[in-house]
């Protein structure tokens, strides 16, 4: 059976990572990059749950995923705070426009 639960979750996880990375590479808007970052972390959480389900340690996997949610929220808060500050300072969210530091 190709459409069983496990296969669907695998496809969704890989798809989410793909979307996230594609979005972060293509988009020039800072906000969309943060969204991409969040998608990637959500995919990682799904991967944890999936591996917990496969090796029969779903409880441990869930506790790990909960911890990831907490740290991930903090990262999101910091990222959004910086984005707000960038918007106030530069008046734009275009990453080409805010890139001034020379190599």
């Amino acid at each position: 059976m190709i459409f069983n639960l496990i296969n669907v979750v695998v496809v969704v996880t890989v798809g989410l990572v793909g979307i996230a990375i594609y979005g972060m590479l293509v988009s020039r808007n800072l906000m969309k990059i943060v969204v991409g970052l969040q998608l990637a972390v959500k995919a990682a959480m799904l991967a944890f749950i999936l591996s917990g389900r496969l090796n029969g340690k779903i409880d441990e996997a869930q506790s790990l995923a909960l911890t990831v949610i907490v740290t991930d929220t903090v990262v999101a808060v910091v990222a959004l705070a910086l984005v707000v500050q960038v918007r106030r300072k530069f008046g734009t969210l275009d990453i080409k426009a805010i890139s001034t530091l020379r190599r």
Partner: protein, 502 residues
Amino acid sequence: MNPQMALLWMIILPLGASPVAYMIGRLSYNRSKGLFGLARWVTLVTVMLTWIPLFFVGRAVVIDGPVSFKVGRIVMEMDGIGLLLSATVVLLGTLVTIFSLSYMKDEEGEEKYYALLPALCGMMIGLGCARDLFNLWVWFEGMAITSYLLVAFYRDQPGALEAGIKYLVQSAVGSVLVLFGISIIFLKAGTLDLVELREMASGFGPLGLAAGALFLAGFGVKAAMVPAHTWLPDAHSQAPSGISAMLSGVVIEAGLVAMLRALGVLSATSTAWGALLLMFGVLNMVVGNLMALRQTQVKRMLAYSSLAQVGYMLIGFGVSASYGLSNGAAGGFFHLFNHAMMKGLAFLAAGSLIYALYLSRGKHNPLMVEDLDGAAQRYPLTAFALSVALLALGGLPPLSGFMSKWQIFLAGAETRSTALLWLVIFAGLNSVLSLGYYAPLVNRMYRRQPSEAVKEGKPIAVSMALPMVAMLLFVVVLGFWPVWMSWLTAPAASSLLAGFGF
């Protein structure tokens, strides 16, 4: 104090001081200007107090081996690597706090700085003690979050904001990759304990290789391994100087330690990890040195030279990971400690010049190479400190940088492999190349007429000179008696080798 309690205190003290310093700073902010400085003293006292548990834990680790502490199912274990990392962190943290007393004085948001600095130290001490892959990741992420905030500390400066965003995005992608690696290992093994995993690792197959690659890429962002290094020069040059010293001296090395721990677990899956580390080491040296040559800002140049120095460490660790030589790991850890001292000294000296020339006038200019002209005439101590730090980084013989590089090169030669012999020669030549950008700075400070900026500069404070003198002593004394560090590097090296299954 028994070692278990001391270990607990060592982590709780700095982490607990963080909210206290913040609240005291906030509460006194509105009351009176005089009380406002209280936050900085809270931080200083805490960092100083951390020395006491460090002493007890350190004695126990050196004499009786690893100290472990159990909270529920989480085990914290301080072994040789953890001890070396914590000792470096606490030492550099103390010196940076003393330096910041006048550097950050009356800066807007000073209490946040003093809240975040001990938190950063505590997170790194925790990272050194993690014995569980997921626990390692949590400490790593905590360290990353505190350092994002510190890099973007001057939040009104466009450059600092850009550096903060760049650093955050790259580093967060790196930690997501690590997370995927951990979930792969969890899938295969059903446990995340580093010791238990080591025995199962031979059965991981291709998925184990994938996890290793994810660890290498993910932790590699933090350790500034070359294709993922682009955040580093921006972050190091835009952060407050004390934080540049912390970032360059210990934060990237903490990333390296985390990577070594994670890869050590997978040593039975593949024997190629050591060779990969060597490859990245070469890349880091070449790119770091070549990019540093064309920099015009002092702090950016120092940041690129950090890349090159990480390259040497990678070579030391790579040699011991592929050949099982303890000399390589000991040299790598010795270089880690020396780098914290040398690069910390260089950043603090550059920072005190920035303070004297620009910051004390309320300007946020970067320190350009031209500003150093004739600095020795007005700032003899700072110029001397910067010169010694630069020459030690370049690896001139009587200084500590030479000793650790020499130990790494000797380990490379000890393998009796032709390829590694060439690699050592190449690394030696790279050291010579690095003098190409260090020496002109020394020349400028001592042999040019003072620049306009230097003539108008303000004097530097005593609390800035004090940590510089301490680090100067470390750099010079360890150059003459490198054996004084082997009580710390030898246990670290044997823990690393045990981690890689030798």
